[in-house]
Symmetry: C2
Subunit: 262 residues, 2 copies
DNA sequence: AATCCGAATTCACATATGTTGTTTGGGGAA
DNA sequence: TTCCCCAAACAACATATGTGAATTCGGATT
């Protein structure tokens, strides 16, 4: 299935698979069991590496997509939009995430996908290749399915946040979530990581106005719960922040242990 | 794979599959292509029919489940809860929905599932049977995956609603969503259906207080956008309600057409 | 018919968050 | 360096929604 030989009009093709699939595999293995052959099959996947400019849609709602996006560096966000232009981010993707993996099953995409950070590099992976992979190795199919399900779990948690937590709690919760996800992705510690997003974007994620976002962040900072230097986030007292956010990472840490019996 | 013969200690087992799987199959076929054999395999599934009392958890967060639930009649809701008892419903399931299908991939469940209506009957289907089905017929696996993905799309839409729509718009949007889903499930017209939920529960779904829910419903009613008699919902002017809710059913109507090429 | 009980309705008031606009700050470009 | 621009910080005011009651309604039960 791997398009091993270099194809004419696709630069960036690596003969032995694009290296960005290594963190992706790492992520899959946190939740699923894959044998050597299956792992190799994933590592030999390929795709077109693309640099995305800020505010440029990677996919636009209503389109029919034929690829998914593996985040290499930077962050991407999925969001919905009202007619008056208000945005609501429904998912944030960190490096190693295959965003839009769900589009493999529903190629008619309903959500825009954009760069969250100033600089974002992704690898576009053809649905054709992914489907072939899934159909050749059913275990990979289940791993993918499990992964999209875990993403769904995060979204459900966002509904709870936006619906029932006040702004302060919501904010604390988001920082905790991203911290844990960054740590699990091997991109820093949960108490110390980079978050390439401006306050307006955080506000879009949390369903509030930029002004209020600023108020809340300032207040968290004054209470010593958060330290922000540029894009660097530091959490001096994890437990305290987790408490203010009523954060319970259970929904993020679903590991493969309980799945062994399958 | 079908446990065709009656097993000793399981009442309610139907020799040719439980009839409740017919609407479930109908639903799957709206989005996926399944051949005769695969359809038959689903129809010959079995499970334990159970009557759920109101306010009794079907599954509790933190548990390890070994079954999914097919809604036969009534409605079920998934929700998260804060420490102070505040609830946020993240999904509403109508008859024909296999709720908790996602637990097939993530059996460590993070969300409570309860009856929304006073009377709820479900069929508990063993994960063992579902997994066997999925592994025997990969197309069924993809259909299931696609279905959980579509559910995820609904949840994402809820994030947008709760995050960026005001109470009135949110409410209009929810009534439209449920209308379309009921219609697609063959349970009435989108402008005329039964909604067995009290205002407090709707408030839990929309992230507001029961008092405010009541205000909004009253206002929609006064504007002639909504008629409620007991549990019966009537929408006299669909377009007007859809306009107030900025409702676009695209995310619900994902049909199999674009999937033919797969 | 009388009773009852949960749900719906309504009111008065409190407050979190939105809105509008100005000011400050810091990093990149010339 | 100086300028420029976007983001952050801050303030004053507006309003949607929350809070905590009391009252009415309607369907079940007796």
């Amino acid at each position: 299935m791997s398009k091993a030989a270099a194809l004419p009009d696709q630069e960036e093709l690596m003969p032995n698979g694009h290296p960005a699939f290594r963190p992706f595999l790492r992520r899959l293995l946190q939740r699923s069991v894959l044998n050597e052959e299956e792992q190799q099959a994933i590592l030999s996947l390929n795709g077109r590496e693309v640099e995305i400019e800020p505010h440029r849609d990677i996919v636009r709602p209503g389109e029919l997509t034929d690829f998914s996006c593996l985040v290499v560096s930077g962050m991407a966000a999925r969001f919905g939009q009202l007619r008056d232009g208000q945005r609501q981010i429904t998912a944030i993707h960190v490096p190693g995430d295959m965003c839009d993996l769900y589009s493999l099953m529903l190629p008619k995409v309903e959500w825009a996908l954009q760069a969250l950070s100033a600089r974002l590099t992704i690898v576009k992976v053809a649905h054709r290749d992914l489907l072939e992979l899934v159909r050749t190795y059913p275990a990979i199919g289940e791993a993918f399915w499990r992964d999209t399900t875990a993403d769904g779990s995060i979204v459900a948690q966002w509904v709870v946040s936006v619906g029932r937590r006040d702004a302060r709690m919501r904010t604390a919760h988001l920082f905790c979530e991203i911290g844990v996800r960054m740590e699990r992705a091997g991109l820093g510690r949960r108490t110390d990581f980079d978050l390439p997003a401006i306050q307006t974007q955080l506000a879009d994620a949390l369903g509030m106005t930029p002004v209020h976002m600023n108020r809340v962040i300032r207040s968290l900072r004054q209470d010593g719960l958060l330290i922000l230097k540029g894009r660097e986030v530091q959490i001096p007292d994890w437990d305290a922040l987790a408490a203010t956010g009523q954060f319970d990472g259970g929904y993020l840490e679903m590991d493969m242990a309980p799945l062994a019996r399958l």
